[in-house]
């Protein structure tokens, strides 16, 4: 199976643990080179965050397990880049439309 280079996840999490703790925990996972966590929605009990994970061979199950252990729920996997190199999405006429 090819290696996952980038994951972009839409996650719903409680306020505690903090986003700093969540990002640090994911950053500590084996083969993860970097994490970007950005908050885009907040309500009284929960927060919606976008988590981008990049690495040489990101283990999705481990990332999922870490997020769930910290009380989060993965709503969707918005982007995955796998293979030998990172391939960015190409803009087509349809997107420019």
């Amino acid at each position: 199976m090819s290696q996952i280079k980038r994951l972009v996840l839409d996650v719903l999490k409680p306020h505690e643990p903090t986003n700093v703790e969540v990002a640090s925990a994911i950053g500590d996972i084996r083969n993860v080179d970097g994490v970007n966590l950005s908050l885009y929605e907040v309500d009284q009990q929960t927060e919606n965050v976008k988590i981008t994970v990049e690495g040489t061979d990101v283990n999705y199950d481990l990332v999922l397990q870490t997020i769930e252990n910290l009380g989060g729920v993965v709503h969707s996997v918005d982007e995955i880049i796998a293979g030998k190199k990172i391939v960015e999405e190409e803009e087509t006429l349809h997107d420019r439309g």
Binding site: P14, E16, P17, Q45, T46, N69, G71, G72, V73
Partner: protein, 177 residues
């Protein structure tokens, strides 16, 4: 274990409880007997009972509140939080609060009891030590709440004086009988 501002609640509650309840026992028992061993036995027994009931009471109350909060969060997340880091942090807080409450209560109890344990006991010494401790608690309370130190100390000492007066009135009432 690190300390945070929330723990101040149980430290203040427990300390005042232990301090003033034990002082009440000492003042009350001294009406019928000023024997050191009797006062130490009665007050120490009270101190242990207070520590256990405060600790247990806090454990039960905090368990209810923390698991209630978890249930609300679970409803928002549409998932259970059993066996997660979130639940373990809640359990940790429950235990910390119970230990803070029971521990503070026991330590507070030792303050008015100290002169009697050292065999230099008198009601006046117990009252003086207790009032001095209330001043310290008032300062601590003001430090946490960022309120006026003077007002906080006056509130703490005023409360203590009320209780000492109430117990003394009972004592006088017993003597009059």
């Amino acid at each position: 274990m690190s300390f945070n501002i929330e723990e101040g609640r149980y430290i203040i509650l427990g300390s005042i409880d232990g301090l003033l309840a034990t002082l009440g026992i000492i003042v009350g028992v001294s009406v019928v007997s000023a024997t050191n061993s009797i006062i130490v036995s009665a007050a120490f027994g009270g101190a242990i009972a207070l520590a256990l009931t405060n600790g247990l009471g806090s454990y039960l109350a905090e368990s209810t509140i923390e698991y209630g909060k978890l249930a609300i969060t679970e409803r928002s997340l549409l998932r259970k939080l059993n066996n997660t880091y979130v639940e373990s942090q809640s359990r940790r807080k429950i235990v910390k609060d119970a230990v803070s409450s029971g521990g503070a209560s026991f330590l507070g109890s030792l303050i008015p009891l100290a002169p009697w344990i050292l065999s230099v006991g008198s009601v006046a010494a117990s009252v003086a030590l207790s009032l001095f401790s209330l001043v310290a608690l008032g300062v601590y309370s003001a430090y946490i709440s960022r309120q006026s130190y003077a007002i906080s100390v006056i509130k703490m000492v005023g409360l203590g004086m009320l209780i000492v007066i109430a117990v003394q009135l009972l004592r006088i009432g017993h003597l009059v009988q």
